[in-house]
């Protein structure tokens, strides 16, 4: 802002072909903005004097393009009012890519005179808004955010659950206490270790000081481990936390005895440092997975249902879908997904791709049962709800999933597997050491105990406990950077084990949305038609606009619901609307410049993803035979299979058949990777050994999947498998390494050659080597 006289336009960041606001690639014919929305947003940002945003942001990938008609929701019911008239509202804000976005949102809102507080949490995507004045201002502020290109949704309890992380905070708290304790005990302990000329009284004072700090630290900061160990014990299982708990508590107990005896050394320093190290590993592990969970929650919140309920007096208002009861009526707009099961009094045209996998929209006669999850492709209609959300078909599907999910919970991770054998052996060796010295060598029981505790301390699986989580943290981070979210803790291990892949067609192998088939249409006519299409939210109109995004809105365009668009004499819509007989409805739009002009036909199809053949080839190269399993008709499935290079395919598979197919594969000893996006895939996803869902999948599929691909396309799937396999190899190496350390150190400890200081050093060095090895997991 040094030179205010520079003209407005020249000041915009001028990269060769990127939109000045959202950064999307521009067609050669376009000026500086990809659409009018971006132009308006750029003007708005400039007008507020916030254009520093464009210099500060780190990424511009087109995510910030304002939608032509943002899906508005009524925030009024969500607004809370304080006693002094201050209104507050919590929102979930999507589209934040870097710190500059946080700054832009906060400053743009703060520039409004009545806004008292606008604070965005970058990691939870939560916007807290407080303002003075009318509640209606809330909706205006939401519109302001939409104009800037950010998408806004109510901050629902589901968001809250996903982002509220009491357990994570408890871990950080424990880490802080352990680090404090370890550092202060170390201060005292070093004095004892080096101060050999120290008098007995001074040493006793030092021991008591160490106990005073060390004991509470061990008791408080170790709670996460003790709880987990106790839970495992109650369930009759063995886990690493048991070895950790016993090692730490035995060391602390021994040290306390030595304090009372005023022995030469205590080992509170080792116990507290060990806790701090292990807790740091846990905190990192959790932070990495929390990011993935929050990204999923963000997607879910945007899809979360508000429906237009029609009240008895005929007025409509937006309410959460969960609150609608059977018998009530909701208005379904064009392009809107049905949130509830119901019936319509009129004929409807619905896209049921998400439920059945059919790629063409289907006509439903009046009174037919309409499934939740379908998308309205025809005229707006009134849906008579037949079942509330909790009893509807979506809820039934969710219950089916829960049952299938439980079988997945039985998966034993490699770390637990190691613990199962390791922990009993380690404890048995420690006990044997004590008996050997006490009974066998007739040593003092204290001396025998010191040696036994040394064994416990060395076998305390610090390296082992860090071996697997460290690899997972690094691998999850590497995948996150590539747009792959890992939602479950054992997903990587299961992904590495997968030995065959089952793919869904619609929305997975294909883009799952209509794309214009180029048939040599006149570019000028396409331009004019796309300009009219800009006025509509109909999926086909949107597809037409995507084919020619630079077309400006044709003035005076009027939408005739369920039929088409009209601007003067020009018409764009269904064949019937444009008086063209002999062409069935479906994925077709017709354009006529005037009543007597020749009609131009635009056909649409669900196109194969550009990288699908390559991804299939990569999967095969990784040793995963690929199958195609779809609910669509044989013709469409066969052509998609041939185009993408898949030999084995099956069409007209309903959700039950899909899940059964996965079960059959599992019974045959295979470990199938299922990739799907629809509600019809959810049961199969849950049943599969490991499940992935592509970008734009339905919420049900995303919550069921272990792995969510955030970027368009399937290219990252083979990449994810490669990273997972590499992580698995590294995890095994790490476990092997930690065990090898023990094999050398334990005999030395049994022989009484190791004092606790050496034991602690050995332990720490093994942890460092294991962590260093884990860092290699990030490189694919």
């Amino acid at each position: 802002m040094t030179d205010l006289k520079r003209p407005f336009i020249a000041d915009a960041p001028q990269s060769a072909a990127a939109c000045a606001h959202c950064g999307a690639a521009l067609a050669p014919a376009q000026g500086r903005f990809c659409c009018t929305g971006c132009e308006a947003a750029y003007g708005l940002v400039r007008g507020l004097g916030l254009d520093a945003f464009y210099r500060r942001r780190e990424s511009a990938d087109g995510a910030l393009r304002p939608e032509a008609a943002p899906p508005a929701f009524d925030a009024l019911p969500l607004i809370r009012e304080d006693a002094d008239g201050v209104k507050s509202l919590d929102l979930m804000i999507s589209g934040l890519t870097c710190g500059a976005c946080v700054w832009l949102v906060e400053q743009a809102l703060a520039a409004e005179p009545d806004v008292i507080k606008a604070r965005v949490s970058f990691s939870t995507r939560r916007l807290e808004l407080r303002w003075q004045g009318a509640a209606e201002r809330g909706n205006e502020l939401i519109v302001l955010l939409s104009c800037l290109g950010f998408r806004v949704a109510p901050y629902t309890p589901a968001c809250m659950r996903a982002t509220e992380d009491a357990e994570g905070r408890a871990l950080i708290r424990a880490l802080g206490i352990a680090a404090f304790g370890a550092m202060n005990v170390m201060l005292v302990s070093i004095a004892v270790w080096v101060g050999e000329d120290m008098g007995a009284h001074t040493r006793e004072f030092m021991h008591w000081l160490a106990a005073l700090i060390g004991l509470p630290t061990v008791l408080v900061a170790g709670m996460p481990f003790y709880r987990s160990a106790a839970a495992a014990l109650r369930a009759g299982r063995v886990n690493m936390d048991m070895a950790v708990s016993l090692g730490v508590l035995a060391t602390a107990g021994m040290s306390l005895v030595e304090t009372f005896r005023n022995g030469p050394y205590t080992w509170f320093d080792g116990a507290t440092a060990l806790l701090a190290l292990l807790l740091a590993g846990r905190v990192f592990d959790r932070t990495a997975r929390k990011k993935a969970r929050q990204a999923v929650a963000e997607v879910l919140a945007l899809q979360d249902g508000m429906v237009a309920l029609i009240a008895v007096d005929g007025t409509t208002r937006l309410v959460p879908a969960a609150s609608v009861e059977a018998g009530q009526c909701v208005q379904i707009a064009v392009g809107e997904a049905l949130r509830l099961d119901g019936r319509a009094r009129t004929e409807t045209l619905l896209d049921t791709a998400a439920i059945t996998g059919e790629s063409l929209p289907r006509d439903f006669v009046a009174g037919a049962a309409l499934p939740a999850g379908a998308v309205n492709m025809g005229a707006p209609f009134m849906l008579e709800v037949t079942a509330p959300a909790r009893d509807g078909s979506l809820a039934a599907m969710a219950r089916l999933l829960e049952a299938a999910e439980q079988s997945k919970g039985r998966f034993v991770s490699i770390a637990d597997h190691a613990a199962r054998h390791y922990v009993p052996i380690a404890h048995a060796i420690a006990a044997a050491t004590f008996l050997l010295w006490w009974v066998g060598f007739d040593a003092l029981w204290q001396e025998a105990l010191v040696n036994a505790v040394c064994v416990l301390l060395i076998t305390c699986p610090c390296g082992l406990a860090i071996a697997v989580p460290a690899v997972q943290v690094v691998a999850n981070g590497a995948l996150f950077k590539r747009g792959v979210l890992v939602a479950s803790a054992t997903a990587l291990e299961r992904l590495a084990e997968a030995d065959c892949a089952v793919l869904d067609k619609t929305g997975t192998l294909t883009e799952g949305r209509p794309v214009l088939i180029p048939e040599g249409q006149d570019p000028q006519i396409l331009h004019a038609a796309a300009g009219m299409a800009r006025a509509s939210r109909h999926p086909l109109a949107k597809a037409l606009l995507r084919a020619c995004p630079e077309a400006p809105l044709v003035p005076d365009t009027r939408e005739i619901p369920g039929q088409g668009l009209e601007a003067g004499t020009a018409r764009l819509g269904s064949p019937a609307f444009c008086d063209l007989a002999g062409l069935s409805d479906g994925m077709v739009l017709v354009y006529r410049a005037s009543a007597d002009a020749a009609p131009v036909i635009f056909r649409f199809a669900d196109r194969l993803r550009a990288d699908a053949p390559q991804a299939v080839a990569d999967l095969k190269a990784l040793g995963l035979p690929v199958e195609l399993l779809s609910g669509d008709g044989p013709g469409a499935v066969a052509s998609a299979a041939i185009a993408s290079g898949i030999e084995a395919w099956r069409a007209e598979a309903d959700p039950r058949a899909k899940a059964a197919h996965i079960e059959n594969l599992k019974e045959a000893g295979r470990k199938p990777l299922m990739v799907g996006d629809g509600i019809n895939d959810a049961a199969a996803l849950a049943a599969a050994h490991v499940a992935a869902s592509p970008a734009g999948a339905t919420d049900l599929a995303q919550t069921t999947a272990d792995i969510v691909l955030q970027r368009e396309g399937l290219a990252m799937l083979p990449e994810a498998i490669r990273i997972a396999r590499r992580a698995q190899i590294l995890a095994r190496q790490n476990i092997g390494f930690a065990l090898a350390y023990n094999v050398i150190a334990v005999p030395a400890a049994i022989a009484g050659l190791v004092n606790p200081l050496i034991a602690a050093l050995v332990m720490a060095s093994s942890s460092l080597i294991v962590i260093g090895n884990a860092l290699r997991a990030g490189r694919a």
Partner: protein
């Protein structure tokens, strides 16, 4: 030896102050949005708006 009588409680007190500060920061949710805080500190606030009455 006499120095220890003074220095040990002082060092413990200072350490405890730090710990209490950490626990307070955690409780007041300052650890909830580390990325956002890291980004926000780099940017200026926009001047020119009167504080609300």
């Amino acid at each position: 030896m006499e120095a220890l009588i003074l220095l040990v409680p002082v060092s413990l007190l200072l350490g405890a102050l730090g710990l209490i500060g950490f626990l307070w920061a955690l409780r007041s949710r300052q650890y909830d949005d580390l990325e956002g805080a890291a980004a926000r500190i780099l940017f200026d606030d926009q001047p020119g708006k009167d504080p609300p009455p």
